[in-house]
């Protein structure tokens, strides 16, 4: 919408409003899959009870997302398709290993979210296509999760570094892991190497440290008015370590 407003060149000639297509809305969870309609707003993420059970990380994110009046309007698909590096909805969805369902003149297709985001404000969507749904496998009842939005204010702030973790546990062993960072690369990124380090292992402070270092290794932050690249790089290590330790109930030095 702000892009539309800034476009005075008349490049945008046709606007199609999808906001009233009822089938594009709604949150459902069945058969181990959670589906978010393209028109699900951030307020829906915050208030939906089914989602609070299935993926509470989205609620944690929604609380931090802009302010209440923006949350009433902002949609999940809109935040994804904007392709911005600081999109707050994307890191939790990456950690949940979400996929984007699209439909267009050539039929339907599904692309995983990390492949959907191809570059700075660029996505894999083609002309004529729309996002219909965002789907992700339910992480299960006993998963651990954590989301941290580091920003200069509590509300209406653009993320300096965002971090999200989703860990599927069996006893004290991590079975599957999703770790992602926002605002530290041209798009929000998944930290594959860090995930591999966690899978099949018990979470210890040393492992958390190694994982955090692996997260920081893939980050390529830039300097801007909100923070320096150096600071962001450091936070790419601090935040995942803090989230993993908090989620696993390991007490850590609060200054670290």
């Amino acid at each position: 919408m702000p892009d539309l407003r800034h476009d005075h060149s008349g490049k945008i000639q046709i606007v199609i409003d999808l906001m009233r297509i009822k089938t594009l809305g709604g949150i459902s969870a069945s058969g181990g899959t959670v589906k978010l309609g393209a028109l699900v707003t951030v307020t829906d993420l915050l208030e939906n009870k089914k989602l609070a059970r299935e993926a509470p990380i989205l609620r944690d994110m929604a609380v931090k997302f802009a302010g209440p009046i923006i949350r009433n309007r902002a949609t999940v698909a809109g935040n994804i398709i904007d392709g911005g590096p600081a999109a707050d909805i994307v890191p939790p969805l990456l950690a949940l290993k979400a996929s984007v369902k699209m439909t267009g003149p050539k039929g339907r297709r599904t692309v995983s979210l990390d492949k959907f985001l191809t570059g700075y404000r660029q996505t894999a969507i083609k002309v004529g296509e729309i996002i219909t749904e965002i789907v992700f496998p339910s992480p299960g009842k006993n998963h651990l999760h954590g989301y941290y939005k580091l920003a200069r204010r509590n509300a209406m702030a653009i993320t300096v570094v965002g971090a999200a973790i989703v860990l599927k546990m069996k006893g004290k062993t991590c079975q599957d892991a999703g770790i992602s960072l926002g605002s530290v690369a041209p798009t929000p990124i998944r930290c594959y190497e860090a995930e591999k380090l966690l899978i099949g292992n018990k979470i210890t402070p040393d492992l958390a440290q190694n994982v955090a270092e692996a997260c920081a290794a893939v980050a390529t932050p830039i300097d801007d008015i909100r923070a320096s690249g150096e600071y962001r790089k450091l936070m790419c290590e601090v935040l995942p370590r803090r989230l993993i330790c908090q989620a696993a109930g390991i007490s850590i030095d609060p200054t670290s």
Partner: protein, 224 residues
């Protein structure tokens, strides 16, 4: 052709009459031909007619829908039905202000400041973050729908009592946001009030008096 020739004759006559000359220039859109004083009437007329015809040919395909195309739609603002026409890309904020609902303030146009907060079917949102045409068939409420000068809403009364207004630019949005908050949660804590008006910026009051006012309004509304 005949009209063209007549226009050129006029031009020749009115050479000394400057304002008329200007008018003709605009009509025939041939600044260059005017500059060339020695062009014969015939050839000039030909030139103009050719130019005109090419312009016409170019325009023809777009005559069916010229950009920006206007769409007719209707919605209600504070209970009154409004029928209007607007291009698809006009924001709801611009549309409302152009229709005279200037109580919806234009602060940032990017959803950052909340000065344009309105209720769309009872849900608070930034008018700048919606297209005008998306209001089709909806019920909008601006601050004037919450209370008027003659009949103030308790939130507005308390804003005045507690000094929640200084320059007043954020106030229409702030009151709409406060209304949405109190509709949703009639007994908010101070922290919940802060979260409820998080999308509305105020550069004068430092928020303390605004929060005081909303807190007092909640008590006032509960006692009624």
């Amino acid at each position: 052709m005949l009209r063209m020739a007549a226009a050129i004759k006029k031009k020749a006559k009115a050479k000394k009459n400057v304002p008329l000359k200007k008018k003709i220039v605009r009509k025939s859109a041939t600044k260059k031909s005017l500059a060339k004083k020695k062009v014969s009437k015939k050839s000039a007329a030909k030139k103009i007619s050719r130019r005109k015809s090419t312009v016409k040919a170019k325009r023809k395909p777009t005559t069916s829908h010229t950009f920006p195309r206007k769409y007719a739609f209707a919605f209600s603002v504070n209970g009154d039905r409004v029928e209007t026409e607007s291009p698809a890309h006009t924001s709801l904020l611009y549309l409302l202000r152009d229709l005279g609902f200037t109580e919806v303030k234009n602060g940032c146009e990017a959803g950052d400041c909340g000065a344009c907060t309105i209720l769309l079917d009872g849900v608070a949102m930034n008018a700048c973050c919606a297209l005008g045409i998306q209001a089709d068939g909806r019920d909008l409420t601006t601050v004037k729908g919450i209370g008027t000068v003659e009949n103030l809403h308790p939130i507005q009364e308390k804003f005045i009592e507690h000094g929640g207004i200084q320059c007043g630019f954020c106030t229409p949005g702030m009151i709409v946001a406060a209304k949405a908050l109190l509709d949703d949660n009639p007994t908010p804590s101070r922290e919940e009030i802060k979260i409820g008006i998080a999308g509305n910026l105020c550069r004068c009051t430092g928020y303390v008096k605004i929060i005081d006012a909303i807190e007092a309004a909640a008590i006032e509304l509960a006692s009624r």
